[in-house]
C-alpha cells in the first residue's frame, strides 16, 4: 500500500551501513526516510513503531514521554531484581528495549481466524498472518492489556508490567496469543476452506 513502486528500496538509516551500501544502491531508487528516523542511540525501529501505536490525537511528545517512563520503570525493576538476585546475575536483562523486543516476539501470533462463507454457513477458518500483521497484533494486544487498568494506575506503570510479563513468556497477552492458537488448532478441520 505504498505510493512508491515495488522496486523502490527502504532507506538505510545507520550511517556506517550507508557507506557500505552506497556503491551497491547508487542506481536504485530509494524511498525517502521518515521524519522521525535518526541515526542515534535513542532510535529503534520497533520502539518507534510502538510509540506510534501509543499515540493518541497526534500528541507525539506525550507518546514518547510515556514510553520513556515505561522504560524507566522497567529498568528500575530489573536493576532491583539484579541486586536481589543471589547467583545467576547474567540472565537478568536490564536493557528495556531488548525486553520490549522480547515481549513482542513472545506475543506474536502465527495464525488468526477469519470468517469464510461456504454453502450458506460461516466457518471460522485459521489463516496464517503476514509478518507485519503479526507484529501489529502483538503490539496492539500489549497496549490493550496496558490500557485496561484502574484509573489511579498510570499507563507507564501498567505497560511496564505487561512488557516484563510478556518478555518472560507469562501474562495475559501471551495467554491471549495461546488462546488464539488453540482456537485455530481446534478449527483446523476448516483449514481447506481457505482455497476451496
Amino acid at each position: 500500500m505504498s505510493v512508491y513502486p515495488q522496486h523502490f528500496v527502504d532507506p538505510i538509516i545507520n550511517k556506517s551501513l550507508q557507506k557500505e551500501k552506497a556503491h551497491e544502491l547508487s542506481h536504485i531508487p530509494i524511498k525517502p526516510a521518515l521524519n522521525v528516523s535518526t541515526d542515534s542511540i535513542f532510535y529503534g525501529e520497533l520502539k518507534q513503531k510502538f510509540t506510534n501505536y501509543i499515540l493518541k490525537e497526534g500528541n507525539s511528545a506525550l507518546a514518547r514521554e510515556l514510553l520513556t517512563k515505561t522504560f524507566e520503570i522497567i529498568k528500575r525493576t530489573q536493576i532491583e531484581r539484579l541486586h536481589l538476585a543471589k547467583g545467576d546475575k547474567g540472565s537478568i536483562i536490564t536493557d528495556a528495549e531488548t525486553l520490549l523486543i522480547n515481549a513482542i516476539e513472545n506475543t506474536r501470533p502465527l495464525l488468526h481466524l477469519s470468517a469464510i462463507k461456504r454453502g450458506g454457513v460461516k466457518y471460522q477458518v485459521p489463516i496464517p498472518l503476514t509478518e507485519k500483521k503479526s507484529y501489529f497484533l502483538a503490539m496492539k494486544w500489549i497496549l490493550e492489556a496496558a490500557r485496561e487498568k484502574e484509573r489511579k494506575v498510570s499507563l507507564p506503570e501498567k505497560l511496564a508490567w505487561e512488557i516484563l510479563d510478556a518478555a518472560c513468556g507469562q501474562g495475559r497477552v501471551v495467554k491471549r496469543k495461546d488462546d488464539l492458537h488453540r482456537l485455530c488448532e481446534s478449527n483446523r478441520a476448516y483449514a481447506h476452506y481457505r482455497w476451496s
Binding site: F42, E45, T98, K132
Partner: protein
C-alpha cells in the same frame, strides 16, 4: 521488517553476559558492602568530605547509609536523586569543583570573624543542591550545628497550613511547616545537641501556663515547639536567636544552609491573607529568623545559600545571576558575599558520570560513539543527562 534489530539483540545479550561474567570474577561488584573495596577510575574510597582534594575531582564518593539518613531524612536531596539512590542501592555524590572550592573556603575560614555568606548560583540542573549536600555532609562530620532549609520555596509556594499570627499583627504563621523544620533540625543535630548540652539564655513565655525557663536545654525548647504546633513558629525564632548567641559565645559552630534562598525576596507568594490579598514573603513570620541568621552580626558561623531560578515564579526566571534573583533588597541584605558558580559537567566529570551509570547498569547500550551523542544532546548538563538516559 524488524529482523535486523533482532540480530543486534543476540549481540547485546551476549555482551551483557560478558560484562556480568567479568564482574563475577572481579572483587569490584559489590560496592555496597565496604567502603574501601572499590576504587575504579570514577570512584574514590575517601568518604569524608573534609579530606577531599583536587585528587578526587570528578570521582564519586559514597555517603554511608546512616549518615545519609541522619542528614537527608527530612529532605535536602532532589526527589529524583533519591529515587536514583534507591535504584543504585547506594548514595553517591560526585566530588566537583564548586563543592571543593566551598570546602576550601570553609576550612580556611577564620570563625572568630563575622559569618561569611557563600551564595551558590548556576543554571537549572547543574547541581546546586547536590553541592550544598556535599557541604552539609562536611558540616555534620565536623561538628557544625546544621541550620538547613531543604527548599525554602516550599514555604511560600505550597505551605501546609497558614494562619494569622497571634503575636504580630498582619503577619502569617506557618505552624506545620515550622514544626516540620524543627523535626528536621532535631534529627540532623541529635548527636551534637546531646553532646554539647546547649542551654537557653532567657525565659520564653508562650502563654499563661506554658513557658520555657532560662537554662533549659535546646532539645527541650525544640520538643516543646514540636509538641505545641501553635507555637512552632515562635520556637523557631527563639531557637535561631539562641543559636546565634551561643555560637557568638563560642559554644558551638553553626552551618546555615538554605536552598532557594531567593524565595524570601520574591515579590509575591501563593498565600492569601484574610482579605484575599497575596502575602509578600516578609509578612511570613517563619522567614524572619532565617533572614536574621543570614546577617553578619554573629560569629562562629558559616552561611551557604543557594539562589535558584525555579524558586521564583513565572515572569521572574530570566536569569540565574544572584543580583537578578535576589533583587535589590536581597542583594543588599547579603552584600558582601562570596559567589560560587556551579557549572555544567566538564568532559572529565561527564565521562566519569557515564562510567558510573554503566557500572550501575543504568546505561546498557554502548554503541561506539554513544558518549559523544549523549554529550551533544545533554549539553553536559547533569540533570538533562539524567533525564535523557532514563529511557535508554
Amino acid at each position: 521488517m524488524f529482523r535486523n534489530q533482532l540480530g543486534n539483540l543476540s549481540r547485546v545479550s551476549s555482551q551483557l553476559q560478558r560484562i556480568s561474567r567479568v564482574e563475577l570474577m572481579s572483587t569490584e561488584v559489590q560496592p555496597a558492602e565496604s567502603a574501601n573495596s572499590v576504587i575504579n577510575e570514577f570512584r574514590t574510597a575517601v568518604t569524608s568530605p573534609g579530606e577531599h582534594s583536587a585528587l578526587q575531582l570528578a570521582k564519586f564518593y559514597k555517603i554511608p547509609a546512616e549518615e545519609k539518613k541522619q542528614i537527608f531524612a527530612g529532605g535536602g536531596l532532589p526527589k529524583q536523586y533519591e529515587q536514583q539512590i534507591k535504584t543504585f542501592t547506594e548514595a553517591c555524590l560526585m566530588v566537583r569543583q564548586p563543592a571543593l572550592e566551598l570546602l576550601n573556603y570553609i576550612k580556611n575560614a577564620d570563625l572568630s570573624k563575622p559569618a561569611v555568606r557563600y551564595v551558590i548560583y548556576g543554571d537549572n540542573g547543574v547541581g546546586k543542591t547536590l553541592t550544598m549536600a556535599h557541604v552539609l555532609h562536611y558540616g555534620s562530620l565536623n561538628d557544625f550545628l546544621l541550620v538547613h532549609v531543604p527548599w525554602a520555596p516550599n514555604w511560600t509556594k505550597r505551605p501546609k497550613e497558614s494562619t494569622n499570627s497571634s503575636t504580630q499583627e498582619g503577619f502569617i504563621d506557618l505552624p506545620f511547616d515550622a514544626a516540620a523544620w524543627l523535626v528536621h533540625f532535631k534529627t540532623q543535630n541529635a548527636k551534637l545537641l546531646q553532646k554539647l548540652q546547649l542551654k537557653t539564655s532567657k525565659e520564653y513565655v508562650w502563654s499563661k501556663r506554658e513557658s520555657t525557663p532560662a537554662g533549659a536545654t535546646l532539645v527541650e525548647l525544640i520538643e516543646h515547639g514540636i509538641a505545641r504546633i501553635k507555637y512552632a513558629t515562635e520556637t523557631t525564632a527563639a531557637l535561631i536567636s539562641e543559636l546565634k548567641l551561643l555560637s557568638t559565645g563560642g559554644q558551638c559552630k553553626v552551618l546555615v544552609a538554605i536552598d532557594g534562598f531567593n524565595a524570601f525576596f520574591h515579590p509575591i507568594t501563593r498565600i492569601f491573607s484574610d482579605n484575599k490579598q497575596l502575602v509578600t514573603p516578609d509578612r511570613i513570620t517563619l522567614t524572619q529568623p532565617f533572614l536574621d541568621i543570614t546577617k553578619y552580626d554573629w560569629t562562629n558561623g558559616i552561611c551557604v545559600l543557594s539562589v535558584d531560578k525555579i524558586a521564583m515564579t513565572e515572569g521572574y526566571m530570566d536569569s540565574y545571576m544572584p543580583r537578578y534573583l535576589l533583587g535589590k533588597t536581597g542583594f543588599e541584605h547579603l552584600d558582601p558575599f562570596v559567589p560560587v558558580h556551579v557549572t555544567n559537567y566538564t568532559d572529565k566529570e561527564f565521562l566519569s558520570c557515564i562510567n558510573y551509570y554503566m557500572d550501575r547498569h543504568w546505561i546498557t547500550k554502548t554503541q561506539p560513539g554513544f558518549e559523544e551523542q549523549l554529550k551533544f544532546m545533554s549539553n553536559h548538563n547533569p540533570y538533562t543527562l539524567m533525564q535523557i538516559v532514563r529511557g535508554l
